[in-house]
């Protein structure tokens, strides 16, 4: 209809600019129109001055408009627009050759529909006006003769890379437009800003033709799976699984976490409303040291259109290190014995204890050499930094020398260690911590009251944060965990830890006869973390429950993992993620610290990589110019499979430290996700580059649209506007309208 009335496509009007071909100024036309309107008005008013002024005014308006329109035609209006010269410009057609184009919908695959669209006239239409080059778009962009050679075997569609490649290769070519025929956006990370900026600067309009349904009819799909990238052996690990569904609302589906086919944990969930994202948390045991490939899947339900998006793989590096925790206890206490026993059963924790048995004697247990800690609590940096965590029992603040206080601050802040304060009759407020510099480290301010420790029973209730924390889990199932905590025996004592500091998180409260008090409080401090456990009475959990019950052991093992699990070594290896889908470039990063745990800038860092099929490589990492102590590098992992990377730092020929990370390379997995047409991305790409989004139904007009591109070899032409149908229609309407009114008003 638009073209019928206006003679030219809308694009002409959008891209072109109006010109007056007569060469006369538009102001003359305006003046002539005003003069004509004045004469007409004078004639009408002198004739119709008998009380019919309103009618005269309407007639004046119609006649004046018509005269102005006729005058405008005398000025010869036209539209100036750049058009591509026929057959002198190239149109690059990028054809998606990835696996997802093989998905069948309504009996036809997307690839077949694309071919049909080309054969139905699009290819001919383009061919008549331009030189057409076809490209297959998959893992890489490849020139192809036509669309018949598409195989649909590419594991990924790298749209962004494809566009960037075209832009780079066409430096001297007259590219008129890019046509992307695909079912979605880039499955390898999205269209980057640089590519978009290049396309815009080159004024390449990108026209996108979308295939596939925008919404699946029946599908359950994982959105994301998050796991820790590293953990200590036997740790309890949390998995956060996000998923959504279409067409199965209210049905039950099972989420399974497995390793090499062996189920680690599972959970049955009820599916929410269509399209609503859901999140579930599952726990499993990390097991032995080594790289663990964890597959998370959600049950494939009957009739699912795309079962390929029901599983994702993640890698967890289960570390073989055995962190050392130093526990200083001020006097013999049952809590000391039973914490020792609980951690003795943990093969991933190395507990060293100092017990002040008498006024003059300290009993050492778990030491590695006979001389270790002979002088009591460490008073040198080397001695203290050899530990990853410190527990301070019933020890008064005044016991520590100023040097030891400073060391403890550096231990947490710089070393990144964990520090835990236990309750007791001569610690926290009673121990003078409220007035000690050590209060700076604590998540609470104990104050200076001296009656905060009470040898009376108290039960434990988890807070909302405690319910969410994996460290407060005695049972893997959240509901069972709540019930388990309710059944725990009472504590032998409790202590008011004082007021909470900003940033402190209470995981558990003591329910006493006088109300609730924070019991287990944690916070991050510098590179490390500190905590207060305001009791010395958890030992009753061990003595008051059957031998088979392991809740006391599990609790303290979890606490110790919180304490030291994230304590870094002198070398910390890092990768941006553990699974690289359809991506071969692996960025490598190592953070290196010296003996004082200050950034080390004069070291040599190498990454030793081993992978599938005997792949082995050594990559030298270079200092990052921005961040001291950080070394970066990159390596290309071509083969899919699991890789191990050991980052090894030396300084002056001596080893500083080493750290191991692992990653997995996989191809074709991402393509199974986001199988619905990503119309939003395609529309955005078109809009931002001056192109247009098309469907197979309206794409036949694309060749005409491309004609008016400003990229490539163009010629500027002026199209007449005097003869467009809408002008004549308007003139007829104005004249006809006046005639009708005169008849009605009897003034003909």
């Amino acid at each position: 209809m638009f073209e019928f009335l206006f003679k030219y496509p809308l694009t002409v009007y959008q891209k072109g600019s109006v010109v007056l071909q007569s060469g006369w100024s538009v102001w003359w036309w305006a003046l002539a129109s005003v003069v004509a309107a004045g004469i007409v008005g004078w004639l009408l008013l002198t004739k119709w001055n008998n009380g019919k002024r309103a009618k005269a005014l309407v007639l004046w308006g119609l006649q004046s408009t018509m005269i102005a329109l006729v005058l405008l035609l005398l000025w010869q209006p036209g539209i100036s627009i750049a058009t591509l010269k026929p057959q002198q410009n190239i149109v690059a057609v990028l054809l998606d050759d990835s696996k997802s184009m093989g998905l069948a919908e309504d009996g036809t695959t997307r690839r077949d529909e694309m071919k049909k669209t080309l054969e139905a006239g699009l290819a001919d239409g383009l061919g008549k006006k331009f030189q057409v080059r076809y490209y297959k778009m998959g893992t890489r962009l490849e020139r192809t003769g036509d669309w018949k050679g598409l195989t649909g075997e590419a594991p990924v569609s790298r749209l962004s890379e494809g566009l960037a490649q075209i832009a780079a290769e066409s430096g001297s070519l007259p590219i008129g437009a890019l046509v992307v025929m695909t079912d979605g956006g880039d499955t390898a990370g999205g269209i980057d800003r640089q590519t978009l900026a290049t396309l815009r600067s080159r004024r390449f309009p990108v026209h996108t033709v979308g295939f596939g349904k925008e919404k699946a009819e029946k599908d359950v799909a994982l959105i994301d799976v998050q796991t820790p990238t590293r953990a200590l052996a036997d740790s309890r690990l949390g998995v956060t699984v996000s998923f959504k569904q279409q067409g199965y609302a209210g049905q039950r589906a099972k989420i399974v976490v497995s390793e090499e086919g062996k189920t680690l944990t599972a959970k049955e969930v009820t599916l929410a409303a269509d399209g609503t994202p859901q999140t579930e948390n599952l726990l499993f045991n990390a097991g032995n040291a080594g790289a663990k490939t964890v597959q998370v899947s959600i049950q494939t339900l009957g009739g699912e259109t795309n079962p390929g998006n029901n599983a994702l793989t993640r890698l967890v590096q289960v570390e073989s290190r055995k962190p050392r925790i130093l526990y200083l206890e001020g006097e013999p206490r049952w809590e000391f014995k039973f914490i020792r026993r609980a951690l003795e059963e943990d093969r991933s924790i190395n507990l060293v204890t100092l017990l002040r048995t008498t006024q003059n004697k300290i009993y050492r247990q778990g030491i590695s050499t006979p001389n270790e800690l002979e002088g009591g609590f460490p008073s040198t940096l080397d001695e203290l930094f050899g530990f990853e965590g410190v527990i301070i029992g019933n020890v008064e603040a005044g016991y520590f020398t100023p040097t030891q206080v400073e060391l403890l601050q550096q231990f947490v802040d710089r070393r990144g260690g964990g520090l835990l304060f236990l309750g007791g009759r001569t610690t926290l407020a009673e121990g003078g911590y409220g007035a000690s510099p050590l209060v700076e480290l604590m998540p609470v301010n104990p104050g200076e009251r001296r009656t905060t420790f009470v040898r009376d029973r108290a039960t434990v209730a988890l807070t909302a944060a405690g319910l969410d924390s994996i460290y407060a889990r005695l049972e893997e199932d959240p509901a069972k965990n709540v019930e388990r905590w309710k059944k725990m025996p009472y504590l032998a004592d409790y202590q008011n830890p004082g007021t909470l500091k900003a940033g402190a998180v209470v995981l558990a409260e003591a329910v006493t006869s006088k109300g609730r008090l924070p019991l287990w409080v944690i916070q991050n401090y510098g590179r490390g973390r500190t905590s207060v456990m305001a009791t010395s009475g958890t030992w009753r959990w061990q003595m008051s429950q059957p031998l088979e019950d392991k809740s006391h052991e599990v609790f303290w093992q979890q606490v110790s993992r919180w304490l030291v699990g994230a304590t870094p070594g002198r070398v910390v290896a890092a990768l941006p993620r553990t699974v690289f889908s359809d991506e071969q470039r692996i960025p490598l990063r190592a953070e290196v610290r010296n003996r004082q745990f200050l950034p080390s800038t004069d070291g040599t860092v190498e990454a030793r990589i081993s992978g599938p099929g005997g792949v082995a490589a050594t990559v030298s990492l270079q200092p990052d110019p921005v961040t001291p102590g950080v070394y970066v590098g990159e390596w290309g992992a071509e083969k899919p499979g699991s890789y191990l990377v050991e980052m090894y730092a030396t300084r002056a020929g001596e080893e500083v430290g080493r750290d191991t990370v692992s990653f997995r390379r996989e191809d074709g997995v991402t393509e199974a996700f986001h199988t619905q047409q990503d119309r939003e991305t395609l529309e955005r790409l078109s809009t931002q580059t001056g192109g247009k989004y098309w469907t197979p139904q309206n794409v036949s007009k694309l060749p005409e649209e491309i004609t008016y591109s400003e990229a490539g070899i163009t010629t500027r032409e002026v199209k007449d506007l005097w003869n467009i149908p809408i002008v004549f229609l308007l003139l007829a309407l104005l004249r006809g309208g006046e005639w009708m009114l005169r008849r009605k008003w009897g003034a003909v």
């Binding site: 001020g330 006097e331 013999p332 206490r333 049952w334 000391f336 014995k337 039973f338 020792r340 026993r341 003795e344 204890t353 017990l355 002040r356 048995t357 008498t358 006024q359 004697k361 009993y363 247990q365 009759r425 040898r455 009376d456 032998a492 010395s536 030992w539 009753r540 061990q542 003595m543 008051s544 429950q545 059957p546 031998l547």
Partner: protein, 270 residues
């Protein structure tokens, strides 16, 4: 009939003779017996809530045809003076927060699980029921510790073991090596000797019955930690009780205190 009468006469004569001899023994001791019991006084801080209390096990006695044997020992021997006098020493010599009064526990209720260290005196006269054996086993495996004392000779050992074997049919009672931490946790006690009871006064002999040699035995758990410390052929309880008596030799009292303190601190650290 004649036979019965002869037996009655013989029994009477025997009883008369034994009474005369027993009275003479008591009379002889009474003349120079320095260890006189005094009235118990409740300490002012006896109700204080502390980390540790001296827990004493109340147990049923061995029943035999020999009534004298049956009545000779019981759970309450030296109670409460030994307990209270010992904890005074523990308070003074260690950092342990100790109650000044003792705590009596038994194996009938679950109260014993609140007291992870328990003292058992005269176990050569105990006779635990099956239910009590089961509870004691559970108590020890959860982390409890018992220290046994004041039983002498092979016969009392055998009776002690009759119940212990039912507590731990699968574990051996073994000699504790000198290097074991229990003998070093505070005091180094490589050179131990027999600590006599006051029945041995004036201590020219330190043993009772055939218990000539002091033995230090115990039962370990699967992690190599002692659960039972059996101090056999010695009387540490008497040494604690009469440490304030000039007649009781200081060297015996000192060793008894050190043994007791080491056993407590060991049980609180292993």
């Amino acid at each position: 009939m004649r036979m019965k009468r002869s037996l009655m006469i013989a029994l009477l004569l025997g009883l008369t003779l034994w009474s005369a001899l027993y009275a003479q023994r008591r009379f002889r001791r009474g003349m120079d017996w320095p260890f006189q019991e005094t009235e118990d006084v409740q300490p002012a801080d006896g109700d204080e809530k502390t980390e540790f209390a001296f827990a004493r096990l109340r147990y049923p006695n061995w029943r035999s045809n020999d009534r004298q044997w049956s009545m000779r020992g019981s759970w309450s021997v030296d109670y409460p003076k030994a307990d209270r006098q010992f904890v005074q020493g523990v308070r003074r010599l260690s950092r342990l927060h100790v109650r000044s009064t003792e705590q009596v526990v038994d194996l009938e209720s679950d109260e014993i699980f609140n007291w992870p260290w328990v003292y058992v005196v005269e176990p050569g006269h105990w006779d635990l029921t099956d239910a009590q054996c089961k509870k004691l086993r559970e108590y020890l495996l959860r982390g409890g510790f018992i220290m046994t004392d004041d039983f002498h000779g092979s016969m009392e050992w055998d009776i002690f073991m009759l119940s212990m074997k039912r507590v731990f049919p699968d574990r051996e009672m073994v000699d504790i090596p000198d290097k074991d931490p229990i003998f070093h946790v505070i005091y180094d006690l490589d050179k131990r000797f027999q600590v006599p009871g006051i029945v041995n006064y004036p201590f020219d002999q330190t043993y009772e019955y055939d218990g000539v040699k002091d033995t230090w035995r115990g039962i370990y758990d699967d992690k190599g930690r002692l659960m039972v410390g059996a101090c056999h052929n010695m009387d540490l309880g008497d040494a604690w009780e009469w440490a304030d008596s000039p007649e009781y030799p200081e060297r015996f009292a000192s060793l008894a205190y050190r043994i007791g303190i080491n056993y407590i601190i060991y049980s609180m650290s292993h």
